[in-house]
Amino acid sequence: MDSGPATSRAIEVRHHWREFCVAVAVWVAATSVICVLIWILADIAIRGLAEVNFGFLIEDVQDAGRVGGIGPIILSTGLILLVCLVVAVPLSFGTAIALTERLDKESWFARNVRRSLDVLAGVPSIVFGLFGNAFFAIALGLGYSILSGGLTLACMVLPILIRTSEQAIRAVPAEYRYAAAALGMKRTTILFRVVLPVAMPALAAGVVLSIGRALAETAALIFTSGYVARTPESLLDSGRSLSVHIYDLAMNVPGGGSKAYATACVLVVLLLAINAATALLLRLAGLHNRSTTGGSL
């Protein structure tokens, strides 16, 4: 009879021990991830932050990037993003509306469109680069240009943008539509007057998220928008994006290291701002829980 409490105590000890081990493992996993992240950020900041100032942001690239700033690079990046969004936003909002028009059951059409978008989402960025180079730059004759780069990125962000837009539209409570329909409104009117305005912050969050993805891209741009590091005069000029500039300075220009890190600082700060903007927009949309899903896609 003595063994009873003894065993149960042994089990209890074992329980405590297991609780302790799992807790330690989880804390270690979480802490190590954060430590590595801080390590990377600190490394970039220490090597680059000293070079960043207002002049750096607006000055011309000089001496292959060793001297001067990144004014033209920021402008090119902005123009590439602009082209990308002008094409991708209408296309993906339209597609998202088409995919959400029947709320009950998936149609054959929607299922296949979605499947093809799933594949598109998995296409490696270098393949987008190959495609952009062969299709936009050569077959359509756009050459190495901001237009080629922007269009290639538009193809790349399309699946993310469609998925976030779809979520945004679906998140609008069905009662709104029923109420509007009961008032005798046409579907088009319901869409533009009721559904889209309510979904707007979440739609905008998807756009901001896509900008983040496009900003970070290098591989797809090297072979489409090219390397030219000066102020573009038209969309048919070649323009170098921030991430391509970092790569070129680090790998091609002796003594370009500190400017490469400085450019990396600028890019990371931009991405930070974009993350913050996404979170804010999603909070406005009342979709806070979904922000995590969005952030990863």
């Binding site: 011309d60 030219v228 000029d237 680090a250 091609n252 002796p254 003594g255």
Partner: protein, 286 residues
């Protein structure tokens, strides 16, 4: 909508700011030149060509010169296809490229680099070949420390690679590398981060990096020190011309630009990119 307006006004702001900083171009006599030139090719020549083009544009405000990189082979192919007006090649033209004309604008050496803690003084031709073809794998076999040799090699299509292989008479498939890199700085960073590494890069690049404290050292070749002076005098054995390549009848604008590239007006730019300017008339003719 608001966000779109905000973004576009931001762009406008950027535009104006950038516009303000670009200095008013210096006017000069021959402003009748106008048009656009596209240069493609060697990533070694591209930074130099970019700087020269910038100066040329300042003198001739109606001219626009676009410089794209992509390697010597691409430069030559693009000129043949007519995609580019001028190709850039960091090697002499091969026998099957006689349909094109090379215009030499500078010279550059290719030097072997090791980590600066490596005590090795010099390697003979045979030793280098043996190292690159995997017959020698340890520094102690060539008189160094007991340390494994990490061979840094370049990816196919790079002119540096072709100059290196040609100089030592090696076929590329017989080379056994430990790391293959694309760009010069990747090679430098790899060697600087690995005590037992050996690699080959443009001497200009290596000198620039050594100056800024990167931990690499240039090895002499055939008892000639690897530096820009010896490349300039022609004493260094493994060197190469930096060429602009055109079809046999380039446009007047292209000719003017090439003459400008070969003139003494750009020597400071050539030196600032750590290359060797051409001085003698014979070199120009080459």
């Amino acid at each position: 909508m608001k966000s779109i307006i905000a973004t576009s006004s931001l762009f406008l702001l950027c535009l104006t700011l950038v516009g303000c900083t670009s200095s008013p171009s210096t006017q000069s006599g021959s402003s009748e030149l106008s048009g656009q030139l596209t240069l493609t090719g060697s990533s070694t020549v591209a930074p130099l060509a970019t700087e020269i083009a910038k100066r040329f544009e300042q003198q001739h405000p109606k001219v626009r010169i676009d410089v794209q990189t992509g390697g010597s082979g691409k430069g030559i192919a693009d000129v043949r296809l007519g995609v580019a007006d001028i190709g850039m090649a960091s090697r002499p033209l091969a026998a099957d490229e006689a349909d094109l004309t090379a215009h030499r604008i500078a010279a550059d050496g290719v030097g072997l680099i090791v980590h600066d803690s490596n005590p090795i003084k010099e390697l003979s031709q045979e030793q280098i070949i043996a190292i690159y073809t995997d017959k020698i794998n340890n520094w102690k076999e060539v008189g160094g420390e007991d340390k494994e040799i990490t061979v840094v090699h370049k990816a196919e299509g790079r002119a540096t690679l072709e100059v290196f292989l040609k100089h030592f008479g090696i076929e590329n498939p017989s080379v056994k590398g430990d790391v293959i890199v694309g760009e010069n700085e990747h090679a430098v960073k790899t060697v600087a981060g690995t005590e037992g590494a050996i690699g080959y890069v443009s001497i200009g690049t290596a000198e620039a990096d050594i100056e800024s404290g990167v931990r690499i050292r240039l090895l002499p070749l055939d008892a000639v020190k690897a530096n820009t002076e010896n490349v300039a005098s022609g004493a260094f054995p493994m060197s190469r011309p930096l060429n602009l390549v055109t079809a046999n009848s380039p446009s007047p604008l292209a000719s003017t630009f090439i003459q400008f590239c070969q003139s003494a007006d750009v020597h400071d730019l050539v030196k600032s990119q750590y290359f060797v300017p051409i001085t003698s008339e014979s070199a120009v003719a080459k």
